[in-house]
């Protein structure tokens, strides 16, 4: 199958704003699926609510667009009944870590064999730009007009601590690395969590001095520190500067997964 065949052509164009990074992430996901030569009838996309979660509706195989925060619980049921299915969940920072935080932790703990792609745009985009658990400290949103006063989640650390077999972070700037990470995630049994930092120029960038899409992508390029470099710096006692964030693969392990068909 070609990459184009993985798109539900009669639903395009998508609803994403000009400059949104979600389309890039969908593209990287479908490219990884295509590289693995998955069959449509073996592949299911599941999502919750929010901009990220509209992605499932643009894929051409079976897709379930569920309730806010609960996609992982729906996915758990589907995967346990049909373990042969490749299950991919699209979620966002609000969907995954606020309303869906408990389901996220428990899906990681169960290490259920699904791949979770979290489009982290640091904001609630669909509802017009409210603060989320991933809005950076000090950032402006419609519900943090004087600057976010809470600390954000590090979703990758949460996933790793809760038990996911594969955890990685990339950005919408790092398309090659992201595609590769999704492919590795899909091939790793157990829960694979891939956090993708993505730009929301409409609701986040515009309020946080990154009005141009390119400013956000430049920020991802300039502030992303490779895991290996971050580890070297840490060994030398160099403290990371607060605007930097680490990208790369954080964990890949082989703990017993749930929802994998027992060998006959």
């Amino acid at each position: 199958m070609n990459l184009e065949d993985w798109y539900r052509q009669d639903r395009l164009p998508h609803i994403y704003c000009a400059g949104c990074g979600n389309g890039t992430i969908l593209n990287c996901t479908l490219r990884a699926v295509e590289e693995l030569d998955y069959k449509k009838e073996e592949t299911t996309f599941i999502s919750g609510i929010g901009c990220s979660s509209r992605a499932a509706g643009y894929t051409s195989s079976d897709s379930l667009h569920t309730t806010h925060g609960r996609a992982l619980a729906f996915a758990t049921g589907l995967k346990l009944v049909k373990p042969r299915q490749h299950v991919i969940v699209f979620t966002g920072d609000g969907d995954c870590s606020a309303i869906g935080g408990n389901h996220f932790i428990h899906a990681c703990r169960r290490n259920i064999d699904i791949t979770v792609i979290c489009m982290n745009n640091n904001i609630y985009g669909m509802t017009g730009g409210q603060g989320s658990p991933c809005t950076p400290y000090g950032a402006i949103s419609t519900t943090t007009p004087y600057g976010m006063q809470e600390q954000p989640f590090d979703l990758c650390k949460v996933a790793e601590a809760a038990g996911a077999n594969y955890v990685a972070r990339w950005t919408s700037f790092h398309v090659k690395e992201l595609t590769e990470a999704i492919r590795v995630g899909l091939e790793t049994p157990g829960l694979s969590f891939i956090e993708v930092m993505t730009q929301c120029p409409t609701s986040f960038g515009s309020k946080n001095k990154m009005r141009q899409v390119t400013q956000m992508l430049d920020m991802f390029r300039d502030n992303a520190v490779l895991k290996a470099k971050a580890d070297r710096d840490a060994a030398k006692g160099i403290l990371p500067s607060p605007e930097k964030f680490v990208v790369g693969q954080f964990v890949r392990r082989n703990n017993p997964p749930l929802g994998v068909e027992a060998a006959k």
């Binding site: 539900r8 009669d10 639903r11 449509k40 009838e41 073996e42 299911t44 599941i46 499932a56 509706g57 051409s60 195989s61 079976d62 897709s63 379930l64 667009h65 569920t66 309730t67 609960r70 619980a73 729906f74 996915a75 758990t76 049921g77 589907l78 995967k79 346990l80 009944v81 049909k82 042969r84 299915q85 408990n102 389901h103 932790i105 428990h106």
Partner: protein
């Protein structure tokens, strides 16, 4: 294989009914007084090739059985009031995406944490109206251990036939009581109708029900809780599509009230007629045994959609006496369908009505004139 006689509690009988009906996925969360359903499923499902999972909460339990249903399995969860409240969100999702699931509510005293170990029928209106938006549901109410088994089987068939969540609205008394029961070697299975090639996944057939596009079968369906067109695609800004969809989903159940109805009608010529469902039915039957040919009785095995035409069977009725373990929830529904005076006999706290209490209601009913009279026990 022959039928087997056993001596079980209602919750275990419910689990056995689910297994007999072919339920192969159960997701649940422990809650008194329903937990024995989950425990039995945890014990039995792996032995019949099914899967049991204990989820992190009832939101997730409801979500997981919906996911499991789209994977093609008959799926179920069991809970009680507090968990039922948490499930309301995904119950709405299941109605709007027309997902067959069975939800067992072993009712206990509410509101809130209430009386965890005591029986009640306080969730009957929540079952009908608890999620947001307009929709219709099917709910059954067993009054014996045998009916816990039989009506659970029936719940799965109704869920698949009508593509809707079906509720087994039982209570602590029926769930925890032990009775003799016949486990059938063969039960009737009415499977869901699979989507045909070329058929749109959300286009209704002559019964108003679309074919089911089981995931992984090559249908490539998109299922969403947004307002959707017949292809299943979001169409949220069309008033016409939204109204057509909601009305069709309500009609696919309400237009079939008589097909769905399941009642017992006793002494239809009587002037004083009891209406009951679930545990109070047992007391009414005791009274009818003690006083043969005196009172009429309408027992509801299906409560929703309300089988209103069965009220017409009682042509001489001068009063309907309605004992419920709530403040008169189904009495309100009866009132919508009749001008015959209603005597509401609420009882809260967990104990069943006694025959003497029902006789007190009979005395009130003999001279009742007002449309609705409440008997304070």
């Amino acid at each position: 294989m022959t039928d087997k006689t056993d001596f079980l509690n209602g919750n275990v009988a419910c689990a056995e009914g689910a297994l007999a009906a072919g339920c192969r996925f159960f997701a649940g969360y422990p809650i008194t007084p329903s937990t024995e359903v989950a425990e039995r499923m945890a014990l039995r499902l792996p032995k019949v090739g099914g899967v049991f999972i204990q989820m992190e909460d009832e939101l997730a339990s409801a979500a997981a059985i919906i996911g499991g249903s789209w994977a093609g399995a008959r799926t179920m969860t069991a809970t009680s009031g507090p968990g039922f409240s948490l499930m309301m969100e995904n119950i709405g999702y299941a109605t709007f995406t027309e997902t067959p699931i069975v939800i067992v509510n072993v009712q206990r005293g509410g509101p809130s944490t209430g009386q965890p170990t005591m029986a009640a029928q306080g969730d009957m209106l929540q079952c009908r109206y608890g999620s947001h938006g307009d929709y219709s549901v099917i709910a059954l109410s067993p009054s014996s251990v045998q009916e816990m088994y039989d009506l659970t089987v029936k719940a799965f068939n109704l869920a698949d036939r009508f593509r809707t969540p079906v509720f087994l609205m039982t209570d602590e008394t029926i769930g925890h009581m032990r009775e003799k029961i016949t486990l059938h070697s063969n039960v009737e299975i009415i499977p869901r109708r699979e989507l045909k090639e070329g058929e749109l996944p959300c286009a209704p057939d002559e019964n108003g029900v679309p074919g089911f596009g089981t995931f992984g079968m090559g249908h490539n369906v998109h299922i969403t809780g947004l307002t959707h067109n017949e292809k299943g695609y979001p169409a949220t800004d069309s008033a016409e599509i939204h109204e057509k969809l909601v009305r069709r989903q309500v009609r696919k159940i309400e237009d079939f009230r008589n097909e769905i109805a399941d009642v017992d009608i006793v002494n239809p010529d009587a002037e004083l007629v009891f209406i009951s469902y679930g545990a109070p039915t047992r007391t009414v039957r005791q009274l009818l045994n003690d006083n043969p040919d005196t009172y009429g009785h309408l027992n509801l095995r299906i409560v929703w959609p309300f089988p209103d035409e069965s009220l017409l069977a009682f042509k001489n009725a001068k009063a309907f006496i309605i004992p419920e373990m709530n403040l008169g929830q189904i009495a309100k529904e009866v009132r919508q369908h009749t001008n015959i005076p209603i005597v509401v006999v609420p009882k809260l706290g967990g104990a069943l009505h006694t025959p003497a209490e029902l006789l007190k209601a009979v005395e009130v009913a003999k001279t009742v004139k007002k449309p609705v009279t409440e008997v304070r026990l």
